[in-house]
């Protein structure tokens, strides 16, 4: 016992000593600026200006600002729709790739490409595709007879929202697909064979065998993707700029405009601080699922056994 506790003390000393650079870095460049930022959200700091304490004024202004409320509604709408679509498409993509066929690995690699591309590239590509002059989307829709006049994608409220949804879903689906596929491949064939013998059809097999197995990984991917989607900035800023008339202005575009265009840094941070509880809730839910010590699964036991 004594030897064991001495070893623990040694390990502890070593672990913190060797990680000192990381700890110092995160304390100085992450923890400190966040705390400072939260303080600044209680001031009237502007770019280049001095900060004076104003209490909760930034927050009161925000909650009374219809533009802010609208940006929150837009963010919710955008997030719920895109996460739903990415979940469905990702599951279907994973199921299709879980069938053994020639060239499967190549297909999987090719289907991952949208996720690996730099987002800025993806965004400009869609902006060009939906461009009202020379854009190929209008041309294709006209040639199959769905529309007879060119659509102004970025200038029409519903259509502008549709373009940012398409850009986000196109790039985000492979993340769901590959995560779900990894789980699908661990499901034993014997389950399906037994179910087939019992006369279960394909749909029943999916509902009663596949879905319960992949439920966790879908939820995990959805939560991570939700954090990223609420956080979305460049897809919206570079495609629609939040327009027309603010119909696609999501939270981050609002905060960017407030902080960097109107130069009200304090109020810009207040936008992020108001969103912080949601992020913290999501992150702590995720932490509970992702940290192996807390789940009683096989993986966790393996993880524990391996740690000295």
């Amino acid at each position: 016992m004594n030897k064991k506790s001495r070893r623990l003390a040694e390990n502890t000393k070593f672990a913190y000593k060797i990680n000192l650079p990381l700890i110092i870095y995160l304390a100085c460049v992450l923890a400190f600026p966040i705390c400072w930022g939260i303080y600044i959200s209680f001031t009237n700091k502007t770019i280049g200006g001095e900060a004076a304490f104003v209490g909760l004024k930034n927050y009161q202004r925000l909650l009374k600002d219809p533009e802010y409320i609208r940006s929150i509604v837009n963010t919710l709408k955008f997030t719920v729709i895109t996460i739903g679509l990415k979940m469905v498409f990702g599951t279907v993509m994973a199921l299709a790739l879980n069938v053994d066929f020639k060239g499967r690995n190549l297909c999987r690699a090719l289907l991952m490409i949208p996720w690996t591309l730099p987002n800025i590239v993806v965004v400009y590509n869609w902006r060009w595709i939906f461009n009202s002059s020379g854009g190929v989307a209008n041309h294709l829709l006209k040639s199959i007879g769905l529309i007879d006049k060119d659509l102004v994608w970025f200038g029409t409220a519903g259509l502008a929202m549709l373009t940012i949804i398409i850009a986000n879903v196109w790039r985000g689906t492979p993340f769901f697909g590959v995560s779900i596929l990894a789980k699908l491949q661990t499901i034993s064939d014997s389950y399906y064979e037994a179910a087939q013998l019992d006369g279960a059809n394909a749909f029943q097999r999916f509902i009663y065998i596949t879905l319960p197995e992949i439920k966790d990984v879908i939820i995990l991917s959805a939560m991570m993707s939700t954090i990223w989607t609420i956080n979305e900035f460049e897809t919206v800023w570079l495609l629609t700029g939040g327009g027309p008339n603010g119909s696609t202005e999501v939270m981050n575009v609002y905060s960017y405009k407030t902080a960097m265009r109107s130069m009200m840094l304090g109020r810009g941070i207040a936008v992020s601080v108001l969103a912080l509880p949601i992020f913290i809730l999501l992150i702590s839910l995720l932490t509970r699922r992702m940290l192996p010590e807390e789940e009683g699964s096989r993986k966790a036991k393996r993880f524990r056994r391996r740690s000295v």
């Binding site: 623990l8 390990n11 502890t12 070593f14 672990a15 060797i18 990680n19 650079p21 990381l22 870095y25 995160l26 460049v29 600026p33 600044i40 066929f101 690995n105 297909c107 690699a109 090719l110 991952m112 490409i113 996720w115 690996t116 591309l117 730099p118 987002n119 590239v121 400009y124 590509n125 869609w126 060009w128 595709i129 461009n131 002059s133 020379g134 190929v136 196109w170 590959v178 995560s179 990223w228 609420i230 956080n231 979305e232 900035f233 460049e234 570079l238 939270m251 905060s255 960017y256 902080a259 840094l265 992020s272 992020f279 992150i283 995720l286 992702m290 940290l291 391996r306 740690s307 000295v308």
Partner: protein, 276 residues
Amino acid sequence: MKGKVRRKILHRIFIAICLFIALAPIYWMLNTSLKSEAEIYLKVPTMWPKAPTLEAYRYLLTETNFLNGIKNSLIVAGFVSLFSIFVAYPAAYVLARMTFKGKRFFSKTVLFTYLLPTSVLYIPLYIFVAKLGLTNTIWGIMLIYPTFTLPYVAWILIPHIASISTALEEAAYIDGCSKFQTMYRIIFPLALPGIISTTIFAFAMCWGEYLYALVNLVSKEVQTFPLILSGLIFGDMPPWNQLMAGAILASVPILVIYLLASSSLVGGATAGGVKE
């Protein structure tokens, strides 16, 4: 039997549709980049460049700051990803291999910072960098980027290190290796495949980063390629062929690395994903 064949055909058709959706936009990017300025604004877009030309690439590389932007992005992403590996590797190592006081809190902090989105951070970090006098220098964003790459690298490396057999370590310990030596001379080389793929992902995260760069970099000389690309958009008729040429050039390095390494990358490393 007949039903099986039909299902097989339907499945292949479905895969083909998926591939089309994933790749057609990328083809359009390539197609546009090979067109002349006159051809991109034709009334009816051509599905195949009528007169393929590298003019857009030539203009982009010689008449704009694009090459300089690529150079800046390379410096920033290269420096930050290497720095992150060396600073975050010890964290992944102790989390995968050791029991120590506060381990749970430590791993929680790493995961928390990994998931913390940039929107919460960009204004405070903008003020921080400004106070240090580093606004509008690549040093400023080189200081900022590790805030997302460090936790990412630490978190993603844990399973890679945990999957290495402990036998070698025990042998090294008996031979009188110190913890430090074991960590760097025994485990580091064994974890190298995972370390390389993680470095690549960290590189990719910095490579296309937009928001931090947008807020901090103003002058053309210090801007990274995403800002140079968006700088090409002006007026009603931006030069889309040049923009798409830039998009292709910026994607190629990432795609090449990815396709070469896809067999080892598709599994574990992507499970955590690349933070957007």
